[in-house]
């Protein structure tokens, strides 16, 4: 598809607004509109990484005394999306078509047709670029094995375990999931090890599918997969998950506490919350699940999702502030152990909405800090 006038205008507006270095080169490149060489495509993608980095570094400017996020990344701009990129770089998968996740949102499903094998490190280039272009601490998000398993068509292992007719249907199905997951975990461990060798200190293991399969065995597998993935690795690990079933995150407990190397859990809460101000459970209904961490004696760090990312309707900064304060209240954690973040990635939002959400995160956190002081 050719670059349109609107695309160029959007690039200019945001390039100027974010003060992206060398943006005139991008504008010149885009003016070509089509028939880009591979080198030109790479430069355009690099600029998109740069735009994302600058957006995260400047979030909250004009609203907060200390703008910007503490941990930055290049917005996964180099990735098709969090599933397709790893799956494209691991042997054994074959794309079979798109599946609808909700509304008009889809993912391109791949089917596993033979045991997965490492082919290449699919995050190395973006890591090096991000480290080179930001002075802030870099956090690299890596899609975990459970999610790749759950979003894939488990063709190979389903067929393999279908032959075990002495097992019940559910046991066969679980065994197919577990074997697939653990094979993937070993590959992802290698990917992360190579990233750590290049200097990254903070790795976020993305497990949006943590609550997809909900049997006790499957929940244990989420922890087993995390522990296998991080085995022998030395970095600060966090875990992100979102959009659980209507029963909430409770199904992950107590097994979650066995993720020994996880320093921080970052879950989505804003989606289920009200737009009313206040620190009472009714106003902060979406944050009730946080109590679980206190119940299970969790003393490490928490990331709290304070802005729902699948709507353009925004809460006020005061509501975000109250969400942060309430999180501190119900978990009993010291403020320095709380990280404030959007519920999940912002790729479904237009840039101006994404920026407003990031502004809210930074400004809400700062107001909470002031109020708590």
């Amino acid at each position: 598809m050719a670059i349109s006038d609107d695309d160029i205008e959007l690039a200019k507006v945001w390039g100027d607004r974010l003060g992206v270095d060398g943006r005139a080169d991008l504008y010149r490149l885009l003016a070509k509109r089509y028939a880009f060489s591979d080198e030109e495509k790479k430069r355009i993608v690099d600029f998109s990484l740069l735009y994302a980095i600058r957006m995260l570094e400047t979030a909250g400017a004009g609203l907060a005394e200390e703008p910007g996020l503490d941990l930055v990344w290049s917005g996964e701009q180099a990735r098709t999306e969090m599933y397709e990129t790893p799956v494209s770089s691991i042997e054994g998968f074959e794309f079979v078509g798109k599946v609808r996740s909700f509304d008009n949102k889809y993912w391109r499903m791949a089917s596993i047709r033979s045991p997965p094998k490492y082919r290449q490190n699919y995050h190395l280039d973006e890591l090096l670029f991000t480290m080179e272009n930001s002075d802030r601490k870099v956090k690299v998000p890596v899609t975990d094995a459970i999610t790749i398993m759950a979003w894939s068509d488990n063709n190979y292992y389903t067929g393999k375990w279908a032959k075990q007719t002495n097992l019940s249907a559910s046991k066969r199905s679980y065994s197919a999931r577990r074997e697939f997951t653990l094979e993937l975990a070993a590959i992802i461990r290698r990917v992360i090890r190579e990233l750590i060798e290049k200097g990254v200190q903070e790795v976020q293991i993305d497990i949006p599918a943590a609550t997809q399969y909900q049997t006790r065995d499957d929940i244990k597998l989420v922890t087993e997969s995390f522990n296998e993935t991080t085995k022998g690795l030395d970095a600060t690990f966090s875990v992100h998950s979102c959009f659980p079933p209507s029963t909430g995150y409770g199904i992950l407990f107590p097994d979650l506490m066995e993720m020994k190397k996880c320093e921080r859990f970052s879950f989505e809460y804003g989606n289920r919350d009200t737009f009313e101000r206040g620190l009472d459970p009714k106003a902060r209904a979406g944050f009730e699940d946080l109590k679980l961490f206190k119940e299970y004696g969790f003393k490490r760090q928490l990331g709290v999702g304070v802005v729902h990312i699948h709507t353009d309707t925004l809460p006020s900064v005061e509501v975000v502030r109250d969400r942060v304060l309430y999180s501190a209240k119900v978990t009993g954690l010291p403020p320095e152990n709380l990280y404030v973040n959007p519920d999940c990635g912002l790729r479904t939002r237009r840039p101006e909405v994404a920026q407003k959400m990031l502004d809210l995160v930074v400004a809400g956190a700062e107001q909470a800090r002031r109020k708590a002081a």
Partner: protein, 333 residues
């Protein structure tokens, strides 16, 4: 002698053109008329496939923009409801907006008719619609009004009756209630026998005075804890089972039709028709069911369209096999 029918069990996967159209529409690259045309074409091709496979009660695959999730025409179209936060749909990577009950639930009987693609179905034969059963609605909705599960069950059932009346008047011949919540008891005990009876009464209330064939399909879980009483309690003509979760040996004999969710709707892995046929024949022998509807275990929206269609075609081949097997059996007798 068992009669074998074929049916879809829920929302069908959109085809690649419709997927592209929805994305283009969201980016304002096409207008709503073009989007609607894409859905209609998609729906027509699914109807044609159902006809070629020999499906008796044809669905539109819920291939309209109205069915953004299984509750949406209800949570957006019924009085007293609105869509709330986004929540995971059981053990899938699909999501729905939780219905929020803000007031008395009622319906003018037109919400679902507007959501069904009738023109396409009418070209295919007898029309079937698939709806959330009262229990699934009551358990997944957030009740801020009735504060009573019983009241909520029956309020939903009463509103549904209005809708079903309109659908039946317009020629719909079959209504299937899909009930994941009955069998997928995440962190909950199986429904008590009193609860089950209450559900049966709610289904009865929804169908009261509605002259259509009806089915109740349990998906995503093992129905064994409710058998055989489910047969007597649920007042539908057919009772359905997800046979990736419920063992064939649990299925009871009854005078009802049996919906056999025998083809796994959660994987592109295509089962061997001969092996499936053996299972179906075993089920027919064991239950003595007069009608067995061969069906996917659940909706075919969890795999891409190409695979979903292959699964439907597999059901056609399966029926040929079991019919052939039955004929052979008759000859050898």
């Amino acid at each position: 002698m068992t009669e074998y029918q074929i049916s879809l069990a829920g929302l069908h996967a959109r085809n690649e053109s419709t997927i592209q159209a929805t994305q283009d529409w969201e980016r304002s690259r096409i207008n709503e008329a073009a989007l609607k045309a894409s859905f209609e074409k998609d729906c027509s091709s699914l109807v044609a496939l159902q006809r070629s496979v020999g499906v008796e009660y044809v669905t539109d695959g819920q291939l309209t923009l109205a069915w953004q999730d299984f509750f949406r025409p209800i949570s957006s179209g019924f009085e007293g409801l609105e869509p709330g936060p986004m929540v995971r749909w059981f053990n899938t990577n699909t999501f729905f907006y939780k219905p929020i009950v803000k007031g008395e639930i009622s319906s003018d009987g037109r919400a679902l008719s507007k959501a069904v693609e009738r023109r396409a179905i009418d070209r295919g034969g007898a029309a079937k619609v698939i709806l959330p059963d009262p229990l699934t609605f009551a358990e997944l909705a957030e009740d801020r009004h009735y504060r009573s599960k019983e009241k909520l069950l029956f309020a939903y059932a009463d509103a549904l009756r209005e809708e079903l009346g309109s659908l039946a008047s317009s020629g719909v011949k079959y209504v299937q209630f899909s009930s994941p919540s009955l069998v997928y008891r995440l962190g909950q005990k199986p429904l008590s026998s009193a609860g089950l009876k209450q559900l049966g009464e709610a289904v009865r209330a929804a169908l009261k005075g509605i002259h259509v064939r009806s089915g109740f399909h349990t998906i995503f879980g093992d129905a064994a804890p409710y058998l055989p009483s489910l047969v007597d309690v649920i007042p539908t003509d057919d009772l359905g089972f997800d046979l990736t979760e419920t063992d064939d040996s649990s299925l009871p004999g009854s005078g009802k039709g049996l919906i056999a969710g025998i083809v796994d709707s959660r994987t592109t892995y295509l089962e061997d028709p001969a092996s499936l046929a053996g299972r179906v024949e075993g089920i027919a022998d064991r239950t003595g069911a007069k009608t067995i509807t061969l069906s996917p275990s659940a909706d075919l929206r969890f795999v891409p369209r190409v695979s979903a269609d292959k699964k439907l075609e597999l059901l056609g081949r399966l029926r040929e096999k079991v019919k052939g097997g039955a004929a052979k059996g008759r000859r050898s007798n």
